[in-house]
Symmetry: C2
Subunit: 230 residues, 2 copies
């Protein structure tokens, strides 16, 4: 993770959009930008919390590990998304890890400075609280889905979630290439099961796969698979 200067435009991230104009110079001084190589870890579960990050460019997976070699991907963060914000809770340790999936640029703020920023900008605190409320809703939905949905439905859901978050490239493929293992970890299943289900989807002409890229041929079928509750 290499430091670099002025890669953040102070305009697009969650923080900059809600920042008081008078505060921007302070931000400019305090912020640090880092270039993160593909596969590099930004912070690791259990590490002491130093600060908060905003993704400027690239994509990051936020994941939580279980029992060596098993993990669950909680969410993907792209440009403008916050990561590391759970460090604001009572335990000063990151509860999740964040790893770059492609070459990424992040904007970093020390925890103390970010907390001061929240104190001088109550509207920002309010918005952050609302953001947390939304994340918590998503997380509760995810809990229920992991408890009650079939793996097949969860995989369908993961593919749709990726499609909607990242959109498609010029050929119609989802604009984020992921390893099978990562798609499995995002769906809460194993590589082998993902492989089988994925092959079924290909056979049924629901998706097309080329290397790490996925083309959704039949979005409606995927939605139906997920079920009535969505």
């Amino acid at each position: 993770m290499k430091e670099s200067r002025n890669l953040c435009d102070l305009k697009s991230c969650f923080l900059c959009k809600l920042c008081l104009p008078e505060w921007l110079p302070a931000l400019q001084i305090q912020k640090k930008n880092f270039e993160v190589k593909k596969g590099e870890v930004i912070f690791k579960e259990g590490d002491p919390v130093n600060g908060i990050y905003f993704v400027s460019a690239g994509t990051v997976k936020v994941h939580k590990r279980w029992d060596k070699e098993k993990e669950l991907i909680i969410r993907f963060a792209g440009p403008e998304d916050i990561i590391g914000h759970l460090g604001l809770g009572k335990k000063p340790l990151y509860p999740v890890s964040a790893t770059a999936l492609e070459n990424t640029v992040v904007c970093y703020l020390e925890r103390d400075f970010f907390e001061t920023t929240l104190r001088v900008n109550t509207d920002l605190t309010y918005k952050l609280m609302q953001f947390f409320a939304n994340e918590l809703q998503d997380s509760h939905r995810a809990m229920r889905d992991l408890a009650h949905m079939s793996v097949k439905a969860r995989i369908a859901q993961s593919i749709l979630a990726l499609l909607h978050k990242f959109g498609v490239d010029e050929n119609g493929f989802i604009a984020l290439g992921l390893s099978r293992q990562d798609i499995a970890s995002y769906s809460g299943t194993t590589y082998e099961t993902l492989f089988k289900v994925s092959n079924d989807f290909i056979k049924e002409k629901i998706i097309e796969v080329s290397g790490r890229n996925i083309l959704v041929l039949n979005e409606k079928r995927l939605s139906e698979m997920i079920g009535v509750n969505h």
Copy 2:
């Protein structure tokens, strides 16, 4: 759900403890207390959000349903706990239901008033944001556990969580009686599986069960079960 007067002491809930003393008279005027009978629904998933609740006495389950007749209990709320706070997110519909597990008293505030309260008390907003951060950490952990832990381990974990949250009565039994179905829903499994695992625990002298009440005989074994995974 029957309205009643002055059942809340304005001292013990999350809100009252952090409320500005000058604001308490306003609170006194705005708050409404309700008596909720065992089994009665406080709000239902999908209902429009009217306001926020604080549990004054009794116990409430917060749950999310799937596919008629299947549900996941997200958490239990006891005295001083908030419920309905996810209504603060962008969608004005409750994402979960809340049902009283015993005769319960709740303190209710309309959404607008609560939002005003947050606006005049930025420290409260900050604390609420921190509370959300902690809840989100718990929720992420729960997601991972649902994805990767065995049902047996999850049941062990549920029993320990109930023990730690509610403590024990004079005979050493967990101070909250629950139906098997509710314990199953809290563990993310079916009644039948809970029944079998529960019988195993009894056979191995890890717990003792009397009606709706559970006595933990071997807390250490339960803890080990959660960590080691089989």
